[in-house]
Symmetry: C2
Subunit: 331 residues, 2 copies
């Protein structure tokens, strides 16, 4: 079956991608020839925010670098986090004396590399605080002590809310407190029919039989927790809302913010249809949704699937932060 | 091969899509139960702009409804234009006495339906002016009198520039003059490996052998003008720049604006890589690119391909219009 991916044959695909993005987004620049993208207009008197991880999840994280979101993003190879040296270089570069806030996705390799870089930066006298994004709830209850709550699309809410708070003048300690409060209120779960094609591979990392759909497939091709026969958007929305309900134990009338994220190749038409289905089911639960975002925000290359992120709106200020201006390209 | 599309099984997919979009974008509203989406904040003292066409090209055109772009979009079924009655209803609804400006894509059925609606509106005393978007140059020179220059992603530049001009207070006659000047300066050509899956069909409308790529495949599954073996992003960029050069007869140092448009399922990583390749080739030609846009702006459902649009920047004001603020969701 002939289809893109084609350019994955490129030798230095990550640098070519960065070059293309820099051309299209003049507010961004690369730090020398490191896989580090920085907002040219970094405000000197604001606490800078760094995020990053393996590539293959575009537009995350380059697309979220800009005023009111991330100050910089540091990239690794496809699905592999950046090295501690690269992360340390990014921290040093954006530090202006108020310290640096770091947003890390909860994967073992990411924690190891970011952890080492943060330790070294602190030894150099840079005050670094961080939050680990762990929004994934796609684990069966009986397995939850064996499986990791991975960092998924909910990480983008951390980028936006913390970024806007920093822009509004929050201190490093305030960002840390806000990050801790937020991270526990964010949950993500998704479904897919096909994982990404890893560059250079003819076949996707994971693929289901025709007409089947899997819940909880990971953004690096990890197998999901259950595979069912596809029936309708409503069937998927119902399963996802049930899983989210177990996490939140919500009460009628509570406010939530919603992100419906295209994991890769889903058409805009299908994404809109699913957004409608999930909103109907959340409405049936009596929830209020004062903020709904949909789009391709955190992907897994050409994976075919959608993830749903909810965040309980514990503080109305979070909504102001979500609505605040940013020049990040992909928000 | 199992993959989305799945939701195309939905009975009323267009209305479900519209419902989802309205939830996510509170500045939009639907006109009764017609396939007409309107900017709630329409300025009473500005000339309103209407566009539309068949659905299946999302985020076009709903995603471009908002302040500084379209006042309304009118939708047909998948790949079928709206009826004259629907178009007329949209024109009547947004007319505030200064007339209505309409942007139509150059397809036979679109021209027939929009033409009839415009005629009727004029008979009702509404001053309607229009521009036909005909940016497609994917025709072999010897065939150019047999083939239609279709309206493709270049239409989005008309939406943005004319929308910003209207927002800045341009009259209906000024919009008409600007539209005519612009439309002849916009050219689009693309490539793909696979057309869309039409809802309810297991197979795409058009598909190439593995490793093949076709130039000029249409956004409704129309066959391209030539099929070649894929080699590299550079090979594609070179062919496309050669075709664009024949159209524009450019001189070194001229300014152009560029749109690299994801026709559907291309990954963000590949899109960035291709943006870089095309920019390198345009740079070799000595062109200046003061504005580069990339993203998923006009699609053909889950088609696998990319289109490239250039517009010669005859007037620096066009650049101001491109950079002007808009709350349209997909710009």
């Amino acid at each position: 079956m002939s289809q893109l991916p084609l350019f994955y044959q490129e030798e230095d695909l990550l640098q070519s991608y960065i070059d293309g993005l820099l051309l299209a987004h003049p507010h961004l620049e690369q730090l020398e020839n490191y896989p580090i993208i920085v907002d040219k207009n970094q405000a000197e008197d604001r606490v800078p925010i760094l995020s990053g991880g393996g590539s293959g999840h575009e537009p995350a994280h380059i697309g979220f670098v800009g005023q009111g979101m991330l100050t910089a993003a540091v990239y690794g190879k496809i699905f592999i986090p950046p090295t501690p040296e690269q992360i340390l270089r990014a921290i040093r570069h954006i530090n202006r004396g108020q310290g640096v806030f770091v947003i890390v996705k909860n994967f073992e390799a990411d924690l190891a590399d970011f952890g080492q870089a943060i330790k070294q930066a602190r030894q150099e006298g840079i005050d670094v605080r961080y939050i680990v994004s762990h929004d994934d709830i796609s684990v069966e209850p009986k397995k939850q002590f064996q499986m990791r709550h991975r960092g998924l699309a909910g990480t983008i809410f951390l980028h936006k809310i913390l970024g806007a708070a920093a822009q509004a003048g929050a201190s490093l300690a305030e960002l840390e407190a806000l990050g801790l409060e937020l991270a526990t209120e964010i949950a993500t779960i998704g479904f897919a029919t096909r994982s990404a094609h890893f560059p250079g591979h003819d076949q996707p990392l994971f693929q289901l039989e025709k007409g089947k759909i899997s819940y909880g497939m990971g953004i690096h091709g990890e197998e999901g927790y259950r595979t069912v026969t596809f029936e309708s958007a409503e069937q998927l929305a119902n399963e996802i809302v049930n899983k989210l309900k177990i996490k939140f134990h919500w009460r009628e009338g509570e406010d939530y913010i919603l992100l419906v994220n295209n994991l890769g190749t889903v058409s805009e038409l299908e994404l809109g249809i699913f957004t409608n289905a999930i909103c109907q089911f959340l409405d049936l639960q009596g929830l209020q949704l004062p903020f709904i975002k949909q789009g391709r925000l955190m992907t897994s290359l050409d994976m075919a699937g959608i993830s749903v992120t909810l965040c309980r709106l514990k503080d109305r200020k979070w909504l102001d932060y979500l609505l605040a201006d940013t020049d990040a390209a992909a928000w």
